[in-house]
């Protein structure tokens, strides 16, 4: 199916690219959000990723899955944005934010179950939240995760283990 749309775009039918936007926009946004932890930045990164994918479609190696290739672009753009943000003066790192949120959270625990869950997810390190997003929510295999993130298989498993441990720990502390 995607092959058809790729061919259409490459032969000049620009509107055909909207198929990829419709299919992947929310997934790309969530992946980006798991890294940059900010909706506005995540939206900008998603837009940049789609532009890059459109411009790079000619070079796309069709033996690979479009999904993996595109998610790789999203992850790279997200990490790039995160690096830029960290260099900016006044940007509070995720680790510092997490400490501040944890302290605040222990003083005033939300009664809303979903709020607690959202809080738990937002407290994860960006690699851990990305691994959780890709493995449990997007249901992508470990091999494909290594292709998307550039991590080794061992590293991916370590990050997933850590993520699961972090979720359990934060959940316990929250309750």
């Amino acid at each position: 199916m995607e092959e058809i749309y790729i061919n259409k775009v490459l032969s000049g039918d620009i509107e055909a690219f909207s198929y990829f936007i419709k299919t992947y926009k929310n997934m790309a946004f969530n992946i980006s959000f798991s890294i940059v932890k900010d909706k506005q930045y995540a939206e900008e990164v998603t837009q940049d990723a789609f532009m890059k994918a459109f411009n790079g479609l000619k070079k796309f190696n069709r033996t690979a899955k479009f999904k993996s290739w595109f998610y790789r672009i999203v992850v790279n753009e997200s990490f790039l944005r995160l690096r830029t943000l960290k260099k900016q003066k006044g940007f509070v790192s995720i680790e510092d934010q997490n400490d501040a949120i944890l302290e605040e959270h222990f003083e005033d625990v939300s009664e809303n179950h979903i709020d607690i869950i959202n809080e738990v997810i937002s407290l994860l390190d960006y690699k851990e939240s990305l691994a959780i997003e890709l493995f449990y929510l997007q249901e992508i295999s470990i091999n494909d995760i290594t292709l998307i993130t550039g991590w080794t298989k061992t590293n991916t498993k370590v990050i997933l283990h850590r993520a699961r441990k972090s979720i359990r720990q934060i959940w316990k502390e929250t309750l």
């Binding site: 909706k39 449990y136 295999s141």
Partner: protein
């Protein structure tokens, strides 16, 4: 699940993360993005077409200069025709460069303002 993922099968973690609010983009994200892509694509096409035209006129100009140089060389003395050819070549190249630069800057400024 496949063999390498069975060690990560975790109902508790899965139930937690699947209950979290999923972020969704604005409705108009797609339209805005397609408009940007269309504009970029149109600009590139137009720029390419203009570049090709410029190159065509450039080569026609070179050809005309070549023909004129040849005629001058045959007709007049070598020294006077060399000076004449050099002056014409300098004038020609300066004009082409000036037009190309002015035109490109004008287009760039116009296209960047959308």
């Amino acid at each position: 699940m496949k063999k390498d993922t069975s060690e990560f099968k975790d109902d508790f973690v899965e139930s937690i993360v699947k209950k979290a609010n999923r972020n969704v983009l604005n409705e108009d994200f797609e339209n805005k993005l397609m408009a940007t892509i269309q504009n970029t694509h149109t600009y590139k096409k137009e720029a390419l077409s203009r570049l090709k035209k410029s190159m065509f006129y450039f080569f026609v100009g070179i050809l005309l200069i070549g023909i004129y140089s040849l005629v001058s060389f045959i007709d007049k003395s070598i020294v006077s025709s060399s000076i004449g050819i050099l002056s014409i070549l300098t004038l020609f190249f300066s004009t082409i460069i000036a037009i190309v630069f002015m035109d490109n800057y004008k287009r760039l400024f116009k296209s960047m303002s959308f």
